[in-house]
Symmetry: C2
C-alpha cells in the first residue's frame, strides 16, 4: 500500500488524536511516573516559579509577571525566556487537570492567569523581559530573544488549560496576543517579514487554531514556516539594523551560522536535520500540523525527508538526538558519539511529538516505534525515579572521571541535576507524562490505531459510536497485552494493533481464536477488521526475546559493539552492578542471556544477566603505557544489564549502552 | 645501579651537551628537514615578521619594534605576545648560523638587534605591547599577558645568537632586561612576588646564566619556580588589584582555574601534569636545569614525578601530549582520545627538550626513547614535507568530515595550515631542527652517550682529549649504524650506545668482534669501555621487527586496538592507500607483514603491507540504522601502513594510528 497521504491526491485522510480526558491510564509502568509528575514535579515547578526552592537561584518568573502587572515593584530577573517557565507549568497543570481534577491547583492557575491578564499590554503584547527591561527593543532581535517562542509556550498552556477547564479567560489573553502578532508579522507591507530564532510559536498557533477555529492562526503558522530561510536573511537584516549588536547577555553565537536556526534553506528544501536539535523537531511538528491540515503535499514530503534523515542517520538507539553540545546540535550522518553526545531530553520529547503528528498523517508503525523508543528510553530516563532530579544531556556512555576532568565532556553529567537555570527539560518531561494519554491511540473514519501498549481505559468516537477499549498489560516487562472492546451496539471497524519493529514474532487471539497476523499486517499494524461487540477480547502476544542490536557500520562509535534490547527497552551496564572500567567488559557472540524480574531493584525491572568476559589488566602492565607482545587475557565475568532509563539512580558510576563483542 | 643523581648524595654527576657547532649532521633522514628549516621556514618566518606574506594577516611583529624604537610611527598590532615571533626567528637564526654560516642572514639579524636596542627602555624593559599600548599596566597582568614569557624567548634568542656570532650586543640587551627583571621580581620587600602565566623565562634565565656565568639569573629562575603555587595566589591578587578585570582581549578564562597555570600547588609538590601542556613541559625544563645545577634533589624528584606521570599515563604513543583542546591541556590519567586529542606540536618539542635535560642528569634510555619518539613522530609530523605548512594539533585519528561538521572537533585539522595567528608551532619545529645536533650525544667525565642515531660527525671533548665520532646510518629505515672513532692518542673511555626500548635484539661489533651486550647494558645503554684508538669502528645492529603495540587496558580509546611500530616510527593508515571508512578495517591477530622501501612515496619511506579484513557494509544495512540478527561479515583486504610523520602530505582524507584487532 502506498502512503495514505500521497495516495489521496490532495484529499487527506488524517487520523485524529483522542481527547485527553477520554483516556484514563492505569498502568503498572507509567502510573508511577505520572503520579510523580502530579505530586512531585508540578508542585516543585510551582515552588520554583514562586522562588521558594531553598538553596536555588530564585527563578523570578512569576515575580516578573507581577511586576509587569503593576502589583509588585522591582526589576526583571532571569533568562530572556524566563516567562516560558510559567507557561510550561501552566500547560502541565492544564494536561493534569484534564485527567485529575484538583481544585487547589486550579485555583493557583486561575490566580496566575489573573496576573497574566494584568501584565498584558493594551495592544496584546505579553513578554516581561521586553515590557520591563527593553521596551524599545520589542521584536528587534528575533534570532536570540525568544519572544515568539515565549508566546508559543503561552499559547500551548492556554489551550491545555482551556481544554481542562473550559474557562475562556486564558484563551482570550492568548488570542489577543496572537491577534497582535498576526497584525505585526506577515507578508503584507508594513509588517515584519520574519520569524523566531527558536521555533515553537508555529506549532502553538496551530493548536490555537484547532481550539478556536480561527484560520488566521493557521495562516500565521504557515507564514512563519514559509518565511524561514527566505533571502535576504531576516536575522542578518536585524543584526545590521541593530548596528551589529547582540543585546542579550549569553546570546546565540552568530558564528554558529544559519544551520543553527534552520534558516540555511527554506524549510521545504531542507533535506537533513541541521543545527539545534530541539528547534528542528519543533519546526517539524508545525510542518506536519500545517501539511496535514492544508493538504500541502510538498510540505509533508519535506517532513518525511527530515524524518528519514533523523531516524536513519542521526538518532541514537535510545531515541536521543543531537550529537554535540556545541549549539546542542545535530552534526552529520552517522556521527553518533556515545560519550560526547548531547541527546537533550527536550529533543527526544520533540521527536516523540513529531512522530505522533506523522502517525496521524500516515499510520505507519515506524513513527510509533520511534515515539515508543524515545518515551521508554531517553524521556523517562531524563527523570530520576523519585521525580526530583533530571538529565538535560542523555549520554550512552559515561565515565564520571571524564565528565569531571576532561572539559570537553563537562556537559555530560553522571548524575541527574536538581533543576536548571534554563529549565526546559523537566517541564517537557512533565507535559509528556501528563499528556501521555494522547499518544496511545489515533483514529480515523474506520480504524482505531493502537500505537502504544499502556494499561487503562479509553473512550473513542468512531462514526457516531462510542467505543470503549480497556488495555491490561504488564508491558514492557511482559509479552501479553489484553484489550477488551466495549460497544453499545455491534459495529464494524478495524482495530489496528502495532507490531513493533523489535518484535520478531507476534500472536493475536480474538475471543480465544488465533488470528493470522501476516496477511493482515499493513505498515506495521495488524488490521483486525470485524464486527465488534461488547466484551470482545483480544490477546496480543509480542515476543520479547533479548536482542543483540548492531548499528550501521558507518556509525564509527559503535563499530565492534553490541547493544542489548528487550521489547522497547534498551539496556545498559552500570558500575553499580559490574564494577568500574566497563570498557574492559566484552560480550562473547555465543553468550546466552537470563532474564528475571527483580521487584526490589530500581522500582522493579527485568534484569538481564549473561556470561561476559573481562580483559585482565595484568602485572605486565605495571609501569607500562605501551608495549609489544601483549596478547590480551580475559577472565569469565558475569555481567548484568539494566534498562537504560533506570540508570543513575544509585551511586555515581560508569555506564555504557554499547558493549564490545568478542 | 641506582640513579646516578640520587646515589651521589648531593654531588652531581651531570652530563654535558656538546656545543652545537661541534656536531655536523649529514643524515639521509634529517638533512632534508634541516635544509627545509634553513631554506624554507626561516626565510618564510622572516617574510612573515616583515609583513610580506601575500594573503596573510600582517604579523606587525617587527613593525611594533620599529615603532617602539621611534624609527616608524603607528600603533601596536597583534597578539600581546607578538614580540616573541621576532625572538623565535632570531633564535632559529642563531642555531642555524652555528652550523651554517650565512652573512646575509647574519646581517638581517644584526639589523633586527639594532632595532631591539633602540626599542629597549632606559630601565631595560622591552615589550612592545606594554611600551606602545598600555605603559601604565606593565607587570599588572602576569597571568595573561606573557610579559616574562616574551622576555624568555628573547633571552633564548640572545644566547643562541651570541653562541653563533660571539657578538655581545644582543646579550647586553638581554642582560640589561634581565637585570631589570631581577630588580623587579624576587622575595625582597618592594619587589613583585610573582611569576608569569606561561612558563618560559625560567628556562631562558638559566641559559643566560650558563652563558654569562651570572648567578643572579640562576637565582631568579629558581625564585620564579619556587614562588609558583605559593599562597596567597599571585594571579588572584593581581586580579583583585586590577578590579577583577582582564585587560587583554582573548585572555585566559579564569574559570580554567589554577591547574591551567600550574599554580595549584608549589612545583615541588606537584605529582601529575596538569593544565596547559606546553607550560607544564617548559616548567619541567627549568626545574631540571635548576635541579642539575644546584644539586637540588627535592626539585629533581619533583621532575621525575612529573616525568613519570606524563610518560606512563598521559602521553600518546606518538610522543604527543595534551588530551583536550580546551586549555590545550592535560586531562587525567589514561585519558588519551585519538580523535579529540590536542597533542600540540610545541608540547612535544617541550617534552623532547625536557627529556634531553633529564638525560643529562640521569643517563637512562627512557629519556632518550621519549625524545626520539617525539622527534620522529609528532615533531617532524608537525611539518609538511615541503616545509610550507604545519600542524598545531596532531591527531591520531582523523575523519575530515567530523573535523568540518562536528564543532567539538574543529580544532583537529585534516591538513596542515600555512601559518597561525598564534605562531608558536612552526618556529618551535625550526629551532628543534636547527639545534638537532645538541641532542645526539651527551658526555660526562668518562662516558660519551649516543642518544640518537643520526648520521654525521661530532667533536667531543673528554678529559682534555678531542674525540671525533662519525655516524653512518640509514636509520630509521635500516638496522645498521656504523660509528667510527677518531682520537689523536689512544684513550680509555666508555662509549654508551642506547638500546631503544622498541628494539628486541641488538648486536654490537667493535672492529668486527662481537661484543656481549647483555652484560654491559646499564639503564638501557650498552657501555663499551675500552682503550679507543683512531679508526676503531663499531657496528650496531638494532633489529627493527614490525611491532604490534598495545596500550595499557586503562586507555579506553585504544581498547581492542593495535598500533604498528617499526624502529622509532609509529605507523598509520591513510585513506589515500586504504580507501575511506578506515574504522571498518581490522587487523587479524595472525596476519604477517611485508615491508619495503618505496623511494617514490612521500620522500622515501618504508611501507608496511599486510592482509587485513574489512567489514562489509552489506545491503542488509540499506535504510537501517540499527538492527538485530546482524552478524558482521568481513572480506580480505590488503592494507598499507605508512609512517605517522608522513601523513597528510597527499589529498585530504582519513587517518588512523590505532587499528581494530580481530
Amino acid at each position: 500500500m502506498k502512503d495514505l497521504f500521497e495516495n489521496s491526491s490532495g484529499l487527506r485522510k488524517v487520523a485524529k488524536e483522542i481527547p485527553l480526558s477520554n483516556v484514563k491510564i492505569k498502568d503498572n509502568f507509567w502510573s508511577h511516573y505520572r503520579k510523580l509528575a502530579r505530586e512531585v514535579v508540578i508542585p516543585y515547578q510551582w515552588e520554583a516559579i514562586n522562588d521558594r526552592i531553598p538553596d536555588a537561584e530564585p527563578s523570578h518568573a512569576l515575580k516578573n509577571f507581577r511586576i509587569a502587572a503593576g502589583i509588585e515593584t522591582g526589576e526583571f530577573h532571569g533568562m530572556v525566556f524566563q516567562d516560558s517557565d510559567v507557561s510550561k507549568w501552566l500547560e502541565a497543570v492544564g494536561f493534569s487537570l484534564q485527567t485529575h481534577p484538583d481544585p487547589e491547583l486550579e485555583k493557583n492557575a486561575d490566580d496566575v492567569i489573573d496576573i497574566l491578564e494584568m501584565a498584558q499590554r493594551p495592544d496584546g503584547y505579553l513578554n516581561t523581559y521586553f515590557i520591563l527591561k527593553e521596551p524599545e527593543n520589542r521584536w528587534r532581535n528575533l534570532a536570540e530573544c525568544h519572544e515568539l517562542y515565549c508566546a508559543g509556550h503561552f499559547f500551548e498552556a492556554a489551550v491545555a488549560y482551556y481544554n481542562a477547564t473550559n474557562k475562556r479567560k486564558v484563551l482570550d489573553i492568548a488570542c489577543k496576543f496572537a491577534d497582535y502578532i498576526s497584525d505585526t508579522f506577515g507578508p503584507e507591507e508594513g509588517k515584519i517579514h520574519g520569524y523566531d530564532g527558536h521555533e515553537e510559536v508555529e506549532l502553538a498557533l496551530f493548536k490555537l487554531y484547532k481550539v478556536t477555529g480561527n484560520k488566521k492562526y493557521l495562516n500565521l503558522s504557515k507564514y512563519f514556516l514559509d518565511e524561514r530561510g527566505a533571502e535576504p536573511d531576516f536575522f542578518d537584516m536585524q543584526w545590521e539594523e541593530r548596528g551589529r549588536k547582540d543585546f542579550w547577555q549569553g546570546g546565540v553565537k552568530r558564528e554558529w551560522g544559519k544551520t543553527y536556526f534552520q534558516t540555511h534553506l527554506p524549510v521545504r528544501q531542507q533535506e537533513s536535520a541541521e543545527g539545534h536539535a530541539v528547534r528542528v523537531v519543533y519546526m517539524c511538528m508545525a510542518m506536519a500540523d500545517v501539511a496535514a491540515e492544508t493538504g500541502d503535499v510538498e510540505l509533508f514530503k519535506a517532513c518525511k525527508k527530515l524524518w528519514k534523515n533523523i531516524i536513519l542517520k542521526r538518532m541514537y538507539i535510545t531515541g536521543g538526538i543531537g550529537s554535540t553540545s556545541i549549539g546542542e546540535s545535530f552534526t552529520f550522518d552517522y556521527d553518533l558519539p556515545n560519550d560526547m553526545v548531547y541527546g537533550e531530553t527536550c529533543a527526544s520529547v520533540g521527536l516523540a511529538f513529531f512522530a505522533h503528528r506523522m502517525l496521524m498523517i500516515e499510520p505507519k508503525s515506524e513513527y510509533a516505534d520511534v515515539m515508543e523508543s524515545a518515551l521508554y528510553n531517553t524521556i523517562i530516563g531524563g527523570m530520576a525515579q523519585d521525580g526530583k532530579s533530571f538529565f538535560y544531556v542523555n549520554p550512552l556512555e559515561v565515565n564520571p572521571e571524564a565528565c569531571e576532568k576532561n572539559p570537553t565532556k563537562h556537559h555530560v553529567k553522571p548524575r541527574r541535576q536538581k533543576w536548571f537555570t534554563c529549565a526546559c527539560c523537566p517541564p517537557n518531561i512533565t507535559r509528556t507524562l501528563t499528556s501521555l494519554g494522547q499518544y496511545i491511540y489515533t483514529v480515523n473514519e474506520e480504524t482505531i490505531y493502537t500505537n502504544l501498549y499502556i494499561g487503562g481505559e479509553a473512550s473513542i468516537s468512531l462514526a457516531d459510536n462510542e467505543i470503549k477499549l480497556i488495555q491490561e498489560t504488564d508491558y514492557p516487562w511482559k509479552e501479553e497485552i489484553k484489550i477488551k472492546v466495549f460497544t453499545e451496539e455491534e459495529i464494524k471497524f478495524t482495530l489496528a494493533l502495532r507490531i513493533p519493529s523489535w518484535c520478531p514474532e507476534a500472536k493475536i487471539k480474538v475471543n480465544n481464536q488465533v488470528v493470522d497476523i501476516e496477511e493482515r499486517t499493513l505498515n506495521g499494524y495488524a488490521m483486525i477488521n470485524r464486527e465488534w461487540k461488547a466484551s470482545d477480547e483480544i490477546v496480543l502476544i509480542l515476543k520479547m526475546p533479548i536482542l543483540r542490536m548492531k548499528a550501521n557500520p558507518l556509525v564509527r562509535a559503535d563499530i565492534g559493539k553490541v547493544a542489548i534490547q528487550r521489547g522497547p527497552l534498551v539496556y545498559c551496564l552500570e558500575e553499580a552492578d559490574n564494577g568500574s572500567n566497563l570498557h574492559e567488559i566484552y560480550l562473547p557472540k555465543e553468550s546466552t542471556f537470563e532474564e528475571g524480574f527483580d521487584s526490589n531493584l530500581l522500582g522493579g525491572i527485568v534484569v538481564i544477566n549473561t556470561e561476559g568476559k573481562r580483559l585482565v589488566n595484568s602485572e605486565k602492565w605495571v609501569n607500562k603505557l605501551y608495549r609489544y607482545e601483549a596478547e590480551e587475557e580475559y577472565i569469565p565475568s558475569t555481567i548484568k544489564f539494566i534498562p537504560y532509563y533506570a540508570w543513575a539512580n544509585r551511586n555515581v558510576g560508569e555506564m555504557t549502552v554499547w558493549v564490545r563483542e568478542l
